[in-house]
């Protein structure tokens, strides 16, 4: 978060005149063997957003992407002299280059969009963290082997333990650590219900053109649907909302069809 304000103000001052460079790189962990559900959702959301903007970028997989990032969270992009991490600052940064998906929206719609993005950031992100780090089956069968896969022996346990402590601390101050798994599922249910009611049978959340909200929703729901977990109720809940599934399919078809096997150099 410290980087947020810094990058926002810096980017406005310095980056505004420069066009979008060709060699923009998006750094993220290895998506086949390392990346975890919450990180994957965030990375996919940023990718979707950049693709919706029509901005070119290259994906770079790094095992230590998390530690390279200025905010300690993935993904981050390197654009000329700037390193910007996470979706919100990236949206602000892209905005300084004169690219935005929300130009057509009026202020009320923008306020609406902000609210729904908050809904996803508070409910889905925390639910993903909860399932990944608090549910004992998932923790032992998926999280620990994957997160530790890039570290040698004693370090993999230490890193896992450290990361878990950090996540648990965050969840406990947000009031999520005390919840039971069923309560978490009912939160997800109500979140998906709200999103589904908002979407109705439109193509995207705000008419025919995608916004960052669509990118964020796609990133999270697509990851939830496609990540194999020992307990698959999470994906099951999302599958109950056909219009959200339809949205994921549309975004995937429009923006990810040809670029799924993105070469990583």
């Amino acid at each position: 978060m410290p980087s947020v304000l810094l990058t926002e103000s810096l980017a406005v001052e310095l980056g505004a005149r420069e066009p979008w460079p060709v060699d923009v790189k998006l750094f993220q962990p290895y998506d086949v063997e390392q990346i975890l559900l919450p990180d994957n959702a965030n990375c996919l959301a940023v990718q979707a957003y950049l693709k919706m903007c029509g901005l070119h970028f290259q994906i770079e997989n790094r095992s230590n992407a998390e530690f390279m990032s200025p905010s300690g969270r993935v993904p981050f992009i390197k654009c000329g002299a700037f390193v910007v991490s996470e979706l919100d600052p990236i949206i602000a940064f892209v905005g300084t280059k004169g690219v935005s998906l929300t130009n057509d929206l009026d202020n009320t719609q923008k306020a609406d969009m902000r609210a729904y993005m908050s809904l996803i950031n508070t409910v889905l992100v925390n639910a993903e963290l909860y399932v990944t780090w608090c549910d004992p089956t998932t923790l032992n069968e998926v999280t620990k082997p994957r997160y530790g896969s890039v570290f040698p022996w004693p370090l993999n346990h230490i890193q896992c333990w450290q990361k878990r402590t950090q996540v648990l601390k965050k969840l406990s101050i947000l009031g999520w650590a005390q919840k039971s798994l069923d309560e978490v599922y009912s939160e997800i249910e109500s979140c998906c219900n709200a999103l589904s009611q908002r979407l109705e049978d439109q193509k995207y959340f705000f008419g025919d053109r995608p916004t960052e909200l669509d990118g964020l929703v796609f990133g999270h729901l697509f990851t939830i649907l496609t990540t194999p977990l020992p307990n698959n109720r999470f994906a099951g809940i999302v599958r109950g909302y056909s219009n959200l599934i339809e949205l994921c399919k549309t975004v995937e078809r429009m923006y990810f069809d040809r670029s799924v096997p993105e070469p990583s150099t």
């Binding site: 978060m1 410290p2 300690g72 923008k110 609406d112 809904l119 508070t122 601390k169 009611q197």
Partner: protein, 323 residues
């Protein structure tokens, strides 16, 4: 079930029925959905199921937390949201999450982390309201909790300037979004208040009314005039009695306040007493340690005089020896 529904809450001040966000949220919701609710100002979160107020009681049932209480009331057929479409309900959920993500940390910051506000406003207020042994414990605990929130959210120490700027920037964006969304309407969804109105009122009213010393965020809220009108409207319509009591209390208190300028009524007398006690104590100490020996000197003098008289009259040599 004819047993009354009761609610234990934090007390109110500055024309608010309660100064606590969560208590206010439940109270406003109850008013909007016409629940006959009896409120008790307990100011004591110790004997509650979750260690926090408000506590909702109905017969033997005790519930903590807004969403649980709202769900229980809905079961009993009380709800403020019956007139909303599913899409509006979705919007209401989304906006309440916007508030909890962006405005809640800012409120925690303003109440507990900001040094000036904490020392001059929140700690004295809570210490005065809480019953005896707890008043030494809870304010400090709330302060620690708030600092922990800042440290976890921003991953730097709580007194880092980054936290303050970050928290305020987020909160201001949120207030602006709310202000735009409300526009010139009476309530968020037309002319009847709903759950979202209760939540927004609970977040904004204490921020608007409390006499903060460091009022950056409060000033931003005051600049959003439609939000201010919104808060005033709800206060006047639904909590009119509290507001009137406070106004009456304020006008009656204003006169004595002017001459003593402080909250101490017998300031002059107390000062005098304190000075007197201090003087007595210091003199007593001086006497006991022998710094001043008034009486003994007089005795010595008298003895000297006596001696001199005796010397003059009888012993001429001894006076020479004494010198």
């Amino acid at each position: 079930m004819n047993r009354p529904m009761e609610l234990d809450i934090w007390g109110g001040d500055w024309g608010l029925p309660s100064i606590d966000l969560h208590c206010l949220e439940v109270m406003a919701y109850a008013k909007f959905s016409a629940v006959p609710l009896q409120t008790h100002v307990t100011n004591n979160p110790f004997c509650t199921p979750n260690g926090s107020l408000p506590v909702f009681k109905h017969g033997k049932k005790k519930i903590n937390g807004f969403s649980e209480i709202a769900a229980y009331l809905r079961e009993k057929n009380f709800s403020a949201d019956f007139g909303l479409t599913p899409k509006q309900c979705a919007e209401s959920v989304a906006f309440s999450h916007l508030l909890s993500e962006r405005l809640h940390p800012a409120l925690q910051y303003v109440w507990w982390v900001d040094r000036k506000n904490y020392l001059e406003l929140s700690r004295p207020w809570y210490a005065k309201s809480l019953p005896f042994p707890y008043n030494y414990y809870y304010p400090g605990r709330y302060e620690r909790d708030a600092k922990k929130i800042m440290e976890t959210l921003y991953e730097v120490c709580w007194d880092d300037p980054v936290v303050e700027t970050g928290v305020h920037a987020e909160a201001e964006k949120c207030l602006t979004a709310l202000s735009i969304r409300l526009g010139e309407e009476e309530f968020f969804f037309g002319s009847h208040p709903s759950t979202l109105d209760a939540t927004v009122y609970a977040y904004l009213a204490p921020l608007l009314k409390a006499p903060f010393l460091n009022a950056a965020l409060q000033n931003h809220l005051k600049a959003c005039s439609n939000l201010v009108r919104f808060v005033v409207r709800i206060s006047q319509r639904y909590f009119a009695s509290t507001l009137q009591e406070y106004e009456a209390h304020k006008t009656s208190q204003q006169k004595p306040k002017e001459d003593s300028e402080n909250y101490f009524p017998n300031k002059r007398r107390n000062q005098f007493l304190a000075a007197l006690v201090a003087t007595v104590a210091m003199t007593g100490y001086a006497f006991s340690t022998g710094l001043i020996e008034v009486s003994s000197k007089e005795e010595v003098k008298m003895e000297d005089e006596l001696d001199e008289q005796i010397d003059e009259s009888v012993f001429d040599h001894s006076s020479n020896e004494g010198e």
